[in-house]
């Protein structure tokens, strides 16, 4: 029922283009909406003024307000609506304006979406994609700055994705929308203006589940997501200046969890640095260290972690927010410590 329905609309031309992270999201949405008439986008003010973060610019003009649908303010309610649509022939994409609002919809996210197919004995598929916009540096304060990326990675039945560059935003979001299982795709609001190359078109869709090595290196493996990925790449540039050759791995998928790619990189560099914009406990970084350990990795070089402190929350105070969210400099410094230089 929920297998994709190819639409009449022709696929856009493939080819690499320079887009902002925001434009990449917009392009991924436009291309999927054009390619499959059963897809639709819903959420609060998604159809007005291009959405609150302007990621949906032009979509309601092109696809109409039936398919680009504003909802009342009721996250748990419209997440359930998306589930009902998904099991009856549509492929809804749900926008959650701030990742901090995911808990408002947590019953649907934890108890319904991932379990629905299972409890029915495999009678249905649940092709729902949730776009959650999160992250700090915006001075949005304690209730509007969470990345939320690890909150739901321990839920079998769900898939969890992230994007830290325009290229991954386009390719991962398209892969997420094409999945016949529920996916939460995390965006970072601090990256919308960031520009980068995007392989547009079906050729640009990355395999679901794969991490990506965005920079090859031999001295240390830096694993990161979202804004930390962006800063890890900047840190790698700084490190190159000091003759430190960092490999940067983007963990685009947290479920499925691509430990293999990280292990392969680690086998080469022997040193691991995790950069996460979240508390380390209960996050993907801790799980990564655990999985590698369970696979027998001996940590002759102890792993290093740059993350949010375990005993603090994100305050509004701009200077404190800057002090708490790891900078490229902090990542670079920790990488130096990791390689002992």
């Amino acid at each position: 029922m929920s297998t994709r329905t190819e639409g009449a609309v022709a696929e856009p031309e493939a080819g690499t283009v320079e887009l902002s992270y925001r434009e990449a999201i917009n392009a991924a949405l436009a291309d999927e909406l054009a390619s499959d008439p059963t897809t639709l986008l819903m959420g609060e003010d998604v159809a007005t003024a291009g959405g609150v973060f302007k990621t949906n610019e032009g979509l309601s003009d092109t696809f109409g307000t039936d398919r680009i649908r504003n909802t009342p303010i009721c996250e748990n309610g419209f997440m359930g609506v998306a589930l009902g649509m998904a099991v009856t022939g549509l492929r809804p994409i749900v926008e959650i304006m701030f990742s901090d609002f995911l808990p408002t919809a947590a019953d649907a996210i934890v108890n319904e979406l991932p379990k629905f197919r299972f409890m029915s004995g495999g009678q249905c598929e649940v092709p729902v994609t949730v776009r959650a916009i999160g992250g700090g540096t915006g001075r949005f304060g304690t209730q509007h700055s969470a990345t939320g990326e690890s909150w739901y990675m321990g839920l079998p039945g769900l898939k969890v994705a992230t994007a830290g560059t325009p290229g991954s935003a386009y390719s991962v979001l398209r892969a997420a929308i094409r999945s016949n299982d529920p996916v939460i795709f995390f965006e970072h609001k601090g990256l919308y203006g960031r520009k980068g190359p995007v392989v547009r078109g079906d050729g640009g869709i990355s395999p679901l589940g794969d991490a990506a090595v965005l920079r090859e290196g031999s001295d240390v493996t830096i694993v990161a997501t979202l804004l930390m990925l962006d800063r890890a790449l900047a840190a790698a540039e700084q490190l190159a200046g000091d003759g430190i050759d960092a490999e940067v791995v983007e963990l685009r998928w947290l479920r499925p969890f691509d430990v293999d790619s990280v292990q392969a990189s680690l086998a080469k560099t022997k040193r691991l640095l995790i950069a996460e914009e979240q508390v380390h406990v209960a996050g993907w970084g801790a799980s990564l260290i655990s999985e590698l350990t369970l696979r027998g990795w001996r940590w002759d070089n102890a792993p290093h972690v740059v993350s949010l402190p375990d005993h603090l929350l994100i305050p509004y105070s701009p200077s404190l927010e800057d002090a708490l969210i790891p900078s490229a400099e902090r990542i670079a410094a920790e990488a130096r410590a990791a390689v002992g230089k």
């Binding site: 419209f78 009902g84 029915s120 004995g121």
Partner: protein, 318 residues
């Protein structure tokens, strides 16, 4: 209303009644484990409402949904098998008593989280509307569910979007152990419809004809594009909330009073008076259904349990 239809209703209600009695028996024997939420006394609501649906309509139910699933045409064997956790079950034993689901009949979900089914029914109704079908959706839930946020969120969305969905409250006077009056400050739950700009209808849940009528009108309204309706069926559950609940919280005499308006007895009297099914025939039908119930339980019990390898395919579609 044609006599034939009422005869079908009568049989279905008897089937549900005896099915639930058997479930209680099997639960006591430990052949059904975990928990059960039975609906003896509420049969007129499920049968009356479900019989108003078209085959292509969508339906969501709750943990107290055995009767509704049977009314929608699920075989007793598939229902018993599910409760026993065997591959003869509609969900091959993976779901259990609280999750009787059958997509082949538009029964798209049975919810164990109070209120969670309502938005899903709204989604199915909107999906149908967006796909250009005039199929509607119907969702059953209890009086207690009208106090949780999703109830209101679902009604609000359904109303602003004019979704073809019918919300049916089975007001059996209790949410678990709590009488409605202790948790809910309104007399008629149907009045809550006004908060969402839709009609609210109160119906006698023991009168199957009245239930069928109200639901039929609401479905027609939805298909015509006039939006959702909230229907409150006043009814009563004979058994405790779940498992072995002795229901000590009932008012004295309350149960006996309700039994006097038993939906099966009421329709039986109507059928006898109309000369369609006399007492003897009713007795014979009960015996026949009892046999059917016992056979179905035995048949369901023959099936093997599902393997871990098989259930792995149910987690992800890929």
């Amino acid at each position: 209303m044609s006599g034939d239809r009422r005869l079908t209703w009568y049989r279905q209600m008897v089937e549900i009644r005896l099915f639930e009695d058997k479930v209680q028996e099997l639960f006591m024997q430990g052949r059904i484990e975990g928990t059960t939420h039975l609906c003896q006394g509420q049969e007129a609501v499920s049968v009356g409402a479900v019989s108003a649906l078209r085959d292509d309509d969508y339906l969501t139910i709750t943990y107290r949904g055995h009767g509704h699933a049977l009314a929608r045409g699920m075989s007793m064997t598939a229902a018993f098998g599910e409760l026993m956790g065997l591959t003869s079950g509609c969900c091959r034993g993976v779901g259990g008593s609280m999750h009787l689901t059958d997509f082949s009949r538009g029964l798209i979900g049975a919810f164990a989280i109070v209120g969670a089914g309502l938005p899903v029914a709204v989604g199915a109704a909107m999906s149908s509307k967006l796909r250009g079908s005039d199929a509607a959706a119907l969702t059953f839930f209890g009086d207690g569910a009208t106090n949780i946020g999703t109830f209101h969120e679902a009604l609000n969305m359904a109303s602003v979007w004019k979704a073809p969905v019918v919300f049916v409250i089975e007001n059996n006077l209790y949410g678990e152990y709590s009488p409605v009056r202790d948790t809910t400050p309104v007399d008629d739950l149907a009045d809550r419809a006004k908060a969402h700009g839709m009609p609210g209808v109160v119906v006698d849940g023991q009168d199957i004809g009245a239930v069928h009528q109200a639901v039929s009108e609401a479905l027609a309204r939805g298909r015509a594009g006039d939006g959702p309706t909230l229907i409150e069926a006043k009814t009563y559950r004979y058994r405790g909330h779940s498992r072995t609940d002795p229901a000590k919280y009932r008012k004295p005499g309350e149960l006996e009073q309700w039994r006097e308006r038993d939906p099966i007895t009421l329709l039986g009297a109507e059928l006898a008076a109309a000369g369609l099914l006399d007492e003897a025939a009713q007795k014979a039908l009960h015996d026949e259904v009892q046999q059917q119930v016992d056979d179905a339980a035995d048949e369901a019990a023959q099936a093997p349990v599902i393997t871990l390898e098989e259930v792995e395919d149910y987690v992800y579609a890929h």
